[in-house]
Amino acid sequence: MKKAVIAALLLVLAGAGIGWGLSAPTRMSAQEAALLTEGDAARGELVFWAGGCASCHAAKGADGEDLLKLGGGLRLETPFGVFVAPNISPSEADGIGAWSLVDFANAMTHGTSPGGENLYPAFPYTSYVRMSAADLGDLFAFLKSLPIVEGKAAAHELGFPFNIRRGLGLWKRLFLDPAPVIASPLNGADVDRAVWERGRYLVEGPGHCGECHTPRDFAGGLVLADWLGGAPAPTGEGKIPNITPVEGGFGSWSAADIAYYLESGFTPEYDSVGGEMVHVQENMARLPASDREAIAAYLKAIPPVSAGSD
């Protein structure tokens, strides 16, 4: 009897130990870190717009130069609670001014803070994990060149169990994966492979389109089988549309229509962009036309998702 109790106790402890081990925040390997080099701020500006950093980290309603003041504070009201975007300006005390490039890359690709805490995936590192070392270096150089904003943003407002950061380590093991979502263009698609891959990089990586356009399961992980198939809006009213080439839906948009929408904010029927997509479209409008065309080429040659919330 005593033996059984001890055995059960040991089992619980072992389980807890495994859970503790599996939930540990991960970091880049030394080889991966060695690939990082100090980048070029001018090139980093394009990565900055492609990544949509200002949409969450600038003040709500910011415009023009104010989009470069990344003091945080925007509240994302989600089913898991309220996430408040942090200060990522180069302030040493309140932002990322004291971070090294490796610290930054660990946050972007592992969701791990310099202090070794798990970051919440409201920060879309599940997409940023696909970014190249060169882009990370360039983006970091650009962020370092921006105005310092003093003051920390407010804390997140999350209930149990979402307020336990350690638990995110397990979540990351399930949902953090640097592999491309779509391995190759849809069979039979007449598309330049290099252009398509540039589009894939922008959509699946920095652009983090899947974070809103793909439905999530009960644990908050993306359902990759329905990649870009549309989802309920994560914040606010309404839904996020299906942007796969599905018949009777987005499939009727030509590649030129998609590129024009990203540039101008107008659909083929001259309806205008709305909701959170307004910021995204304005960011995409700052990229070279070739990048908008690459995004269009990619979206035209991915598997259509018919059973969607479109």
């Binding site: 009213e237 024009y260 904010g265 107008f266 001259y270 205008s272 909701g275 307004v278």
Partner: protein, 153 residues
């Protein structure tokens, strides 16, 4: 007696129903504002098509696009009475919960169409460049309102 009363009730209900239907046809704000917005979309399509070079520019067409926008900007805001958030509508709850913000967006729309109408004059902007200068700012107001006051879709 009972039969008569029932018949009377029935007549009353039918009469009310008819009155309701008539009132609805005249004043149901949701289809009215949707019709106005679809005229905005059509004007944007005409104007945008000319700006893109897909439709040949003509001053009369430029004038039509601007005049449509002008009329819509002056009338659209009148069809969001309290209670008209229910039903088949893409209007976001913020139209009513943040009425001042919505009014400010409508004012931007109205101001942009006023300048465009002035530039348009009697016979419409003379050439495509003049049209672009007048019409571009009108198109720019679409998303600034749709960002907050329309449901995502």
């Amino acid at each position: 007696m009972r039969i008569i009363r029932n018949a009377t009730t029935l007549g009353l209900i039918a009469g009310l129903g008819l009155a309701g239907a008539v009132a609805q046809a005249a004043a149901d704000p949701i289809p009215t504002r949707q019709a106005i917005m679809s005229s905005v979309g059509a004007a944007a399509g005409l104007g945008g098509g000319m700006m893109k070079g897909e439709i040949a520019y003509a001053p009369a067409a430029g004038k039509a696009a601007i005049a449509t926008m002008r009329a819509a900007s002056l009338s659209f805001g009148n069809f969001f009475p309290a209670g008209s958030d229910k039903g088949n509508s893409d209007a976001a709850a913020k139209v009513w919960s943040d009425a001042a913000g919505f009014a400010a967006q409508l004012a931007k729309f109205t101001a942009a169409t006023a300048s465009a109408a002035e530039a348009s004059g009697k016979s419409g902007p003379a050439d495509l460049d003049a049209f672009k200068e007048a019409f571009g700012p009108v198109l720019g107001t679409c998303k600034s309102c749709h960002e907050t006051y329309r449901k995502q879709k």
